[in-house]
Amino acid sequence: MRHQIRVEVNGKSHEREVEARQLLVHFLRDELRLTGTNVGCETSLCGACTVWMDGKAVKSCTQLAVQADGCSVTTIEGMKQGDTFHPVQEAFWECHGLQCGYCTPGMIMAAGALLKENPSPSEAEIRQSLKGNLCRCTGYQNIVKAIAHAAQGGAQ
């Protein structure tokens, strides 16, 4: 049985017929070809698949696409406004907050969600907020620096 869903992704409405068991991350990647969102551990631990659902950071590997019916989703592709990168994206660039880049989309979505709720987090709050995002390269130092840098720049 397939289900008709309508999901707004990065400001654009998409209607698709999906299988009930299709995960949101696969809907984004395979149906909409938005491959910026990565699939990492697949067990809700690594956070590489983090997107915003109705403005809140969620792990898209642990949501069914049918659960997103009627929701608004933002992926890494939706962070850039016109020619302007999101302040968190700029800060990851400035502070070299990545090495291989695999965790980066999820890191940026998690960090962006943090700064929406808490525009000037302490270092401890930044580190706490990344509890659901694993990086196997950087040791997190530059990621934390980048998020602090974005906060100082007044990320929205």
């Binding site: 289900h3 009930a20 697949e42 809700s44 631990l45 509890k131 659901g132 995002n133």
Partner: protein, 288 residues
């Protein structure tokens, strides 16, 4: 990695959820999906039908209800942690909810889903038992209430019937002179509790203990209620020596959980250390 095939049904009301449960044997209710979907992806659960109750507005929210606080089953961990009402009236639950997994999981995982799944290492069962919470269940035939200490039966096993829906929980507002604390040693990779100690104490004006509760996640196959420790504390001075003696003398666990990460013996050791710390912190908070 994706779930085995199932039929998906979305319930618009609790009534409709009950009808769908009646019509589909072995169906599973889907709330936030953060216990069920991982189980389904690992094929540890392969329900033929999934009934999505995630949008039923009447099942969500935290409100005052006479002398207790009513928590809708669909309330997510982030909302539990952020609730001013809960922080004032049942701070133990807000404190424990803030330690569940990570921000993304807390944005989706619900209190109803958490307790229905009843993972022995999850954070809410022990605080709910310590707070004397009641779980409200609905079936096609009517409603019933189960106290938290009877609800958690064993490993991933609860008193919830196959055709029942958890509608809400009620937790007594804490009385004057009560303090509580949730302290957790978490598994560094999964974030689950290797040992989660939930303590609550009520102090009299003279500083002695009027009531106490000490419960643990992660130690036994369902929330461990250390009634003997609580019994030994009531009437005591609640000074450090009294707490240490009560825990050392009375904390026992039948068949503590053990795995490659933490043996049963080690978990029981952690429970003693964390139990004492949680009781002392609860006492200090009670004394203000």
């Amino acid at each position: 990695m994706f779930p085995a095939k199932f039929t998906y049904h979305r319930a618009a009301s609790v009534q409709q959820a009950l009808e769908l449960l009646a019509a589909h044997d072995d169906a599973k209710l889907l709330a936030g999906g953060h216990s069920l979907i991982p189980m389904m992806k690992l094929r540890l659960a392969q329900p033929p039908a999934v009934i999505d109750i995630g949008r039923i507005a009447e099942l969500s929210g935290i409100s005052r209800d006479d002398g207790s606080i009513r928590i809708g089953a669909l309330t997510c961990h982030a909302d539990l942690a952020a609730s001013e009402l809960l922080r004032q009236e049942c701070p133990l639950i807000a404190e424990a909810a803030a330690t569940v997994a990570d921000p993304q999981v807390r944005n989706k995982g619900t209190i109803g889903g958490n307790i229905a799944h009843a993972d022995p290492a999850s954070d809410l069962p022990a605080p709910l038992v310590a707070c004397d919470a009641t779980i409200h269940l609905l079936t096609a035939d009517g409603s019933r209430e189960v106290v938290a200490s009877d609800f958690f039966v064993g490993l991933l096993t609860t008193a919830l019937g196959e055709k029942e829906v958890i509608t809400h929980l009620s937790v007594p507002a804490q009385t004057i002179g009560t303090g509580s604390a949730y302290l957790k040693v978490e598994h560094p990779a999964s974030g689950y509790a290797v040992c989660g100690a939930a303590a609550a104490v009520t102090v009299r004006e003279d500083g002695t203990c009027a009531a106490a509760a000490l419960c643990f996640n992660g130690i036994t196959d369902s929330a461990l209620n250390a009634r003997a420790v609580a019994g030994a504390l009531v009437g005591s001075s609640l000074d450090d020596d009294a707490i240490d003696a009560a825990v050392d003398g009375h904390l026992t666990a039948d068949d503590p959980l053990g795995d490659v990460y933490a043996s049963g013996e080690y978990r029981l050791h952690l429970a003693k250390v964390q139990g004492k710390r949680a009781l002392k912190l609860a006492r200090d908070r009670a004394r203000g």
